[in-house]
């Protein structure tokens, strides 16, 4: 029996899972929508992954969780590593591309830039309070234009003359887009303009003040949009690598971390059939009213968090 490691990346929009062997080879992977319910999404993920690898030759000996729901999912899957997504992405990419110097990452709600020297992360930045120029912005504009977001890139490439679209702010971009459509710009030009706007926004905000050096790897859901990739190449004057598994990098990265650390904890795919309930309550200990989250498995309390002081800790009910 060979050891295998499961990495789960639960983002706001999508949930990704990867099972790797000791040589960091991907044995199984799955990508599905979170749909606002991370617990349900992970159950689905586990059911799917279970059928995709050979249980006779591999056993999952440890689990790692990353992404914005990492804490919750880490508790449920008894993960040995709960890692932030910035580190997970960096480790995933540097494992696959040891020469990489710059990582562009655009996801559903956030975007980041990671600078690497000799395989080590030396600097990073992440977008702040606003989701401008991320996947959810492209998705909402695609609905407005009546085009599937998956077709965006292909359509963008047919444009000869991308329409300039204000890139600074989502609200301005949207009104600019409506205006440009009404005065008669073609749909492919607008879509190409949007891809360009995402890139401009990214380089001016997240990439501000950072020296961008090749090789560049572009990942996250938006890297599936070839229009954005081309716009990145045009803006930086450098080739941009998109890995076919780029959308899985976070899950892959946290699986690699788990393998490196070597800690083991028995894992059972039967979790997918168990009942997990989360309850949010407001602590009445003081005026701060901390939002406390409790997680129950088959009616039994697994963990609780969210309180700022000792008063609020309750692991009993």
């Amino acid at each position: 029996m060979n050891k295998a490691y499961l990495g789960i990346d639960i983002g706001s929009i999508s949930t990704k899972g990867v099972i790797i062997d000791g040589q960091n080879r991907i044995l199984a992977s799955e990508y599905l929508w979170t749909e606002g319910n991370p617990v349900q999404a992970v159950k689905k993920l586990l059911l799917s992954l279970r059928g995709k690898f050979d249980p006779a030759s591999y056993a999952v000996t440890a689990v790692g969780a990353t992404g914005s729901a990492r804490r919750l999912i880490g508790v449920i899957t008894r993960a040995t590593e709960v890692k932030n997504e910035i580190t997970a992405h960096a480790v995933g990419t540097t494992t696959l591309y040891p020469e990489v110097r710059t990582i562009f990452e655009i996801g559903g709600q956030d975007s980041k830039i990671i600078l690497v020297e000799n395989g080590v992360v030396v600097d990073y930045a992440m977008n702040t309070l606003c989701a401008a120029g991320t996947g959810s912005f492209l998705a909402s504009q695609s609905r407005r234009l009546g085009v599937a977001v998956e077709d965006f890139g292909r359509i963008a490439l047919t444009s000869q003359n991308p329409t300039p679209i204000a890139a600074r702010c989502t609200v301005f971009a949207e009104s600019d887009l409506v205006h440009k459509a009404q005065i008669g710009h073609s749909r492919e030009d607008i879509i190409a303009g949007l891809c360009k706007a995402v890139v401009t926004n990214y380089l001016n905000n997240v990439g501000k003040g950072k020296k961008i050096v090749g090789p560049i790897v572009f990942q996250g859901g938006v890297s599936k949009n070839v229009g954005v990739t081309k716009a990145f190449e045009a803006a930086t004057g450098l080739p941009v690598i998109v890995d076919p598994n780029g959308h899985l990098t976070g899950a892959f990265g946290v699986a690699v971390i788990v393998g490196r650390k070597g800690a083991e904890r028995p894992f059972d795919f039967g979790l997918a059939e168990m009942e997990f309930v989360t309850k949010g309550t407001n602590c009445d200990g003081c005026a701060n009213h901390c939002e406390i989250i409790r997680v129950y498995q088959n009616g039994e309390l697994l963990d609780a968090w969210g309180n700022k002081c000792e008063k609020g800790v309750s692991r009993t009910r």
Binding site: I86, M126, H289
Partner: protein
């Protein structure tokens, strides 16, 4: 003889302790400490503030309202070298519009180069004020602030390595409680010395070359842990030495203006106001001393600190030191902050590891 005033000042870290001393001992007023800051403070403050004003304004307004509910009738506001200079007037106006009948001591009306003008402002509220008494209490207040700042500096550098979880926090709470009971400068001197010994006696287990993180940024948000989501503590608890120069002692009592201007000449030649120059100077110093990273903290929309950021980026590039930027408004979710801090810690660890082996 008029009725004793019940004065209050917004929370600012734990500086309410020396401020209370000054009010009671020097100005012969009662002091109302605002309730501990909470989401309610933020909600109240945000509700009645202009949306685009910076977070400290909103927090102050929330503190005032909560202190008035506790019985305060006289509100104290300081002057300042940015928008803060106008805060007192605006707070007063908003509170009056809300129907609160309170008096305001607005130190923005005083002139910082003429200490006597402060006395004049306080005298408006309490005509029986005695100058020698005020001066004596002021001196003790200054010493009290210095002793707190010295203790906090030591705690930031060591709390990440305490052997017994909570040892520093417990002793610090004890220290503040004792400070609140001090009556003379002599007593204070003894107390401060005694507690400093006890802080230093707390067992810590520090690695030979621990991660070192320098913290710089805007006056209020950097010094007030509630405003910055206890970021220094979170960072330290991951296992790092946290250093910060900016505090009341260094900025108000011992501010080396000329030295600062001279040291950063290569990076900034004109004063960009408020704390921007000190931010740049400290960041440069942390970089030169080989710190592993810098955290820059400001409230959203703070102009002087926004102006300092391009300079920090130059320092970051020249000295190859990573800088993590935080901008706080009245948001309450900690998840995004935690993610960035964790990643910053991981990055510093990996860089240090690579430097040691490579």
């Amino acid at each position: 003889m008029t009725k004793k005033r019940k004065v209050t000042f917004p929370h600012f870290g734990d500086y309410c302790v020396p401020i209370e001393y000054l009010m009671r001992q020097g100005l012969d007023m009662d002091y109302v400490t605002p309730p501990p800051m909470s989401k309610r403070t933020l909600e109240l403050g945000s509700k009645y503030s202009p949306d685009y004003v910076c977070a400290p304004f909103k927090i102050h307004l929330g503190c005032y309202i909560e202190a008035i509910e506790k019985g305060a009738d006289t509100l104290l506001q300081t002057g300042g070298v940015c928008r803060l200079g106008f805060y007192g007037e605006l707070h007063e106006q908003i509170l009056r519009d809300l129907g609160y009948q309170v008096d305001f001591i607005n130190l923005a009306m005083a002139n910082y180069s003429k200490p006597y003008t402060f006395y004049r402002e306080f005298k408006k509220i309490n005509p029986d004020l005695s100058l020698p008494k005020v001066s004596g209490a002021l001196l003790t207040t200054i010493r009290m602030v210095e002793s707190m700042d010295a203790a906090d500096d030591y705690i930031r550098r060591n709390i990440g390595f305490e052997q017994e979880e909570g040892a520093f926090d417990r002793l610090r709470a004890d220290f503040l409680n004792s400070l609140a009971l001090v009556e003379s400068q002599k007593e204070l001197r003894y107390l401060a010395g005694n507690y400093m010994k006890r802080f230093k006696a707390i067992p810590v287990l520090k690695p030979k070359r621990p991660l070192r993180v320098g913290v710089v940024g805007e006056y209020y948000s950097v010094m007030d842990p509630f405003s910055n989501h206890y970021i220094e503590r979170e960072m330290a608890k991951m296992g790092a030495v946290v250093a910060r120069w900016m505090n009341i002692s260094n900025s108000l009592f011992h501010y080396p203006k000329k030295e600062i201007q001279a040291r950063i000449r290569g990076y900034a030649r004109y004063n960009m106001g408020a704390t921007s120059m000190a931010t740049i100077e400290r960041a440069l110093r942390f970089a030169k001393k080989g710190y592993d990273g810098i955290i820059h903290i400001k409230s959203f929309g703070c102009t002087p600190e926004t102006d300092a950021m391009p300079v920090l980026q130059n320092i970051s590039a020249d000295y190859k030191i990573p800088i993590l930027y935080f901008s706080f408004d009245s948001q309450t979710a900690d998840a995004g902050i935690q993610t960035r801090l964790e990643a910053f810690y991981d990055m510093m660890t990996m860089r240090k590891g690579a430097a040691a082996t490579g």
